[in-house]
Amino acid sequence: MNAPAPQTAPPLLDVQGLHVHFNTGGWRSRAQVHAVDDVSFAIARGTTFGLVGESGSGKSTTALAIMRLLQHSAGEIRLDGTDIGRLRGTALRSARRRFQMVFQDPFASLNPRKRAIDTVREALDLMAVGTPDGRAAQAAALFAQVGLRAEQRNLFPHQFSGGQRQRIVLARALAAHPELVVCDEPVSALDVAIQAQILNLMKRLQRELGLTYLFISHDLGVIRHLCDEVAVMYLGRIVERAPRETLFERPLHPYTRALWSAAPSFDSRERGRERRIRLNGDPPSPLDLPPGCGFAARCPFANARCHAERPALRRLTAHQHVACHRVDDDARAHYENDTAACTNSA
């Protein structure tokens, strides 16, 4: 759980033991939702870290807690050594220029009554970037940097397409010269052709500006294309974490394998149906977590220990972490002998 980051240089973002709990169920109830439960990871500067999982897995809650838009219950969020989880008031406000966020829905995250350039300009004003006189030029430069044309500056959000709107959102996020950009499903609302444009833009901006991305998506293709390291979340916990190709070519956790096998393969000759690990039902309610592994109820390979004892996220090699009783310390998945159905990976 407290494994050091695999990188030698200190990471830009280091999250340790993050918990986010919500009280729920009315005034007499003590019910708590453990939306994020003991999540730890680190992101090296200039790299992209992917969080992948299904709805309700806690990806977005993790992002909001890191952005300090949601109060976390416990844990440390270190940005370049500073625990931004402890900052308050003006200290937090001035630290915010170092971490910015891009949301999923570019319709909802732009003010419909503000002209595009003013949206970007407002971010510069709020963060007091440069001198007031220079900000108009800076806003125009940001506009060009994200691939928008000068004659579009004075248009309103509804006059842009979805992809162009997401470019405005990116320009706004980049206004304060952030080091970390947290992106919560930034391309999920876009058509695939436009998605490619935005993903290429994000890669170019990362190269040009040395950005670090925390990238949240449920789309495995997007994650595989963009991320250097990936963590898989299930019911508020990280169940597996590894560099991209390790995770995609040899996933160890049964949930990761099920997720990979569920994704359409693009290969019309070998359809997924035959090799799929079938998951039944839905994830259990986070209100009423089982005592053992959160995935045990849906896992085809769960044994008595899985139902009784919660597996910790263990470090197997320098880069690979997994939370499963049925994977040994030498990264051997013992459940592979249970059935031949699980031998295929994505």
């Binding site: 695939v192 052709a193 495995l220 079938r278």
Partner: protein, 345 residues
């Protein structure tokens, strides 16, 4: 404009034949040509994937086939939709109501907005059974429970009395499928049936649709923007752009050897299909979809096409058949060219 080549009946006639379907909408800024001579056929037990970007006319095709286009401002300007050789566009509304949900069913993208929140799931499935199959209330509810069991809802007799908000997203979509299939339709139109769902739930729904198709022989028109869904489900694929079908062919041909530059872009720009080197960029289709207010005097894709020649901006490309079972609408493949499979990319 109307069909002349399809024979109205007989064993060779396709189950469902759409021909020359054109739909226009009157807007303040003029007439929008949202569908322009759309045509395809669907055989029993077959799945046709209808793909394209938002606004290309995929959903409009489905609504026109179901005669659910709001008129005005919309208008079916021309074309024919034949189910078992019977022209649906000419039916009186009362007669069409007997077809909808009975012979031709539809499932929509967002199951929460297409279920009525104040009726139980069982009542909503039973309603169409009572109307179309003439069963009494009790028999219809029993049939609804059977359908819920068939789509894999656990404890169906109990869950039939639940309201839509008691169901998760995946269960709601299963209930929608149960409702659509309750009267054993000949054809099912599925408009982005899994877009709102998680990938493991999407896999469950695809498996379910494939099982039902094999068991009942229902033909499926699968509307999607996801080439992965097409690879998973479809036998044939039709690609739409700006209200027109620009390419049609078997699923392997379309995914492995796409001919139209737009199809090539759509297939290539999906991320994560294979291992990519760090820093590798995705193939992009530059620009955005054109306005539908001007009826295409030329190829609608020419503005975004890297192979565009002056001819492409002057005249609309003719449809050609570069190989058997394939149609493409592009000046790169003029009518006279023999079956040339080399793609120009």
């Amino acid at each position: 404009m109307t069909a002349s080549t399809t024979t109205p009946s007989g064993d060779d006639a396709p189950l469902l034949a759409v021909d020359g379907l054109s739909v226009q909408f009157q807007t303040r800024r003029g007439t929008a040509h949202v569908l322009d001579e759309v045509g395809f056929t669907l055989a029993r037990g077959q799945t046709l994937g209808l793909v394209g970007e938002s606004g290309c006319g995929k959903s409009m095709t489905a609504l026109a086939m179901m005669r659910l286009i709001p008129q005005p401002p919309g208008r079916i300007a021309a074309g024919s939709v034949r189910l078992h050789g019977r022209e649906l566009l000419a039916l009186p509304e009362a007669e069409m109501r007997r077809v909808r949900g009975n012979r031709l069913s539809m499932i929509f993208q967002e199951p929460m907005t297409s279920l009525n929140p104040v009726f139980t799931i069982g009542e909503q499935i039973a309603e169409s059974v009572r109307l179309h199959l003439g069963l009494d209330r009790r028999a219809a509810l029993a049939h609804a429970v059977d359908m819920l069991a068939a789509v894999g809802i656990p404890a169906p007799a109990r869950r039939a009395h639940d309201y839509p908000h008691h169901f998760s997203g995946g269960m709601r979509q299963r209930a929608m499928i149960a409702m659509a299939l309750a009267c054993s339709p000949d054809a099912l139109i599925a408009d982005e049936p899994t877009t709102a769902l998680d990938v493991t739930v999407q896999a469950q729904i695809f498996d379910l649709m494939a099982e039902l198709r094999e068991r009942t022989g229902t033909a499926i028109l699968l509307i999607t923007h996801d080439m992965g869904a097409v690879a998973e489900m479809a036998d044939r694929v039709a690609v739409m752009y700006a209200g027109r079908i620009v390419e049609e062919g078997g699923v392997h041909d379309i995914l492995e050897r796409p001919l139209h530059p737009y199809t090539q872009g759509l297939v290539a720009c999906a991320p994560g299909r294979r291992r990519t080197a760090p820093g590798e960029t995705l193939r992009e289709i530059p620009g955005t979809v054109p306005s539908l207010l001007r009826r295409a005097e030329a190829c609608a894709f020419a503005e975004r096409c890297e192979h565009a020649r002056p001819l492409c901006r002057q005249r609309p490309p003719p449809g050609s058949q570069p190989a058997s079972g394939r149609r493409v609408r592009c000046w790169l493949y003029p009518e006279t060219t023999p079956a040339d499979t080399a793609s120009p990319a």
